[in-house]
Symmetry: C2
Subunit: 154 residues, 2 copies
DNA sequence: AACGGTCAAGAACGATCGTTCCTTTTCTTG
DNA sequence: CAAGAAAAGGAACGATCGTTCTTGACCGTT
């Protein structure tokens, strides 16, 4: 069946997720992806179809593999505002969701899961119907990210 | 002293702020700005120096003119999550501040003001040292924006 | 060992990016 | 009413964007 591919699709997807978590979608070029992921253009387009396809795959992977452990921490009452695991979701929500229906759907689904995890958190049992706990968490991470990342080399 | 300029600098700055509130910085091209603001390229570059200069001017204008009325509403205990007045600040915080020190400084200043306004809000007098009220507000607007703007023609 | 299909390597595509230059028009000023 | 300065108009710059094409190397199959 021809030559086998020389890269692990999941590893590449995870690396792409990390890149997209650092800068905005338009701020990550295909050249950046090719260089950082170590995968040739052709292979990226053959595997993911387009830059958007790779982005969606990365977002889905992130939601499937990075969010579950986070929800566990949240349900256990841990503090996670320093964890950059929410960054890709933040960027997706703010700058992609308004322009991409699929991204919006994924973001909404992620929030439902995070919300449920926070409902189970010990500190928030008294919370009402509104998910203010998640809102506060998102805001907290938003501020941490904006103020801290000014000088870091990502 | 030559021909007077045919546009109001403040009007243009406000319009630019609205554009940058809708899409990410890299998603707004100079062509978009020229077309939407009705000002010629040369005039934009003469007045603001660069695209980033116009962005910074727009952000500053937004912080000076759109945020004060918002802080008043907040201090009065009003609900403002449906108000898109926070959108430019959200985008600036998430995608520009990590890459631009001046943006980060402006965003930090804006948060200080919003925070103080919320400390004065009647519903949040019991709040502790942490500014969870502002965090919750930011998260709330974040979610509202992501879920609502999927089909709107901005 | 020869085939056939997949991958890797890299050049190249048109389009668009932010920015600059040149020319023409319009206004203020003496 | 000239003279000069600044704005408008628009083409053009090199660089980079996402995407595709062409060529040759590789490997599983018969």
């Amino acid at each position: 069946m021809g030559r086998p591919r020389g890269f692990d699709e999941e590893v590449v997807t995870a690396a792409a997720a990390e890149l997209f978590a650092g800068r905005a979608y338009d701020g990550v070029s295909v050249d950046d992806l090719v260089q950082q992921l170590g995968v040739h253009r052709n292979s990226l387009y053959k595997t993911f179809g387009s830059k958007r396809g790779l982005y969606l795959a990365a977002l889905r992977w992130h939601l499937d593999h990075r969010l579950p452990p986070l929800t566990e921490q949240l349900a256990a009452g841990a503090e996670v505002a320093d964890d950059p695991a929410l960054d890709l979701l933040l960027l997706a929500a703010v700058e992609r969701a308004p322009r991409d229906v699929e991204v919006a759907a994924l973001v909404t689904k992620a929030w439902q899961e995070l919300d449920q995890a926070l409902q189970r958190a010990p500190a928030n049992h008294t919370d009402g119907t509104r998910s203010t706990a998640l809102n506060a968490l998102l805001g907290e991470r938003l501020r941490a990210r904006a103020t801290a990342a000014t000088t870091d080399p990502s």
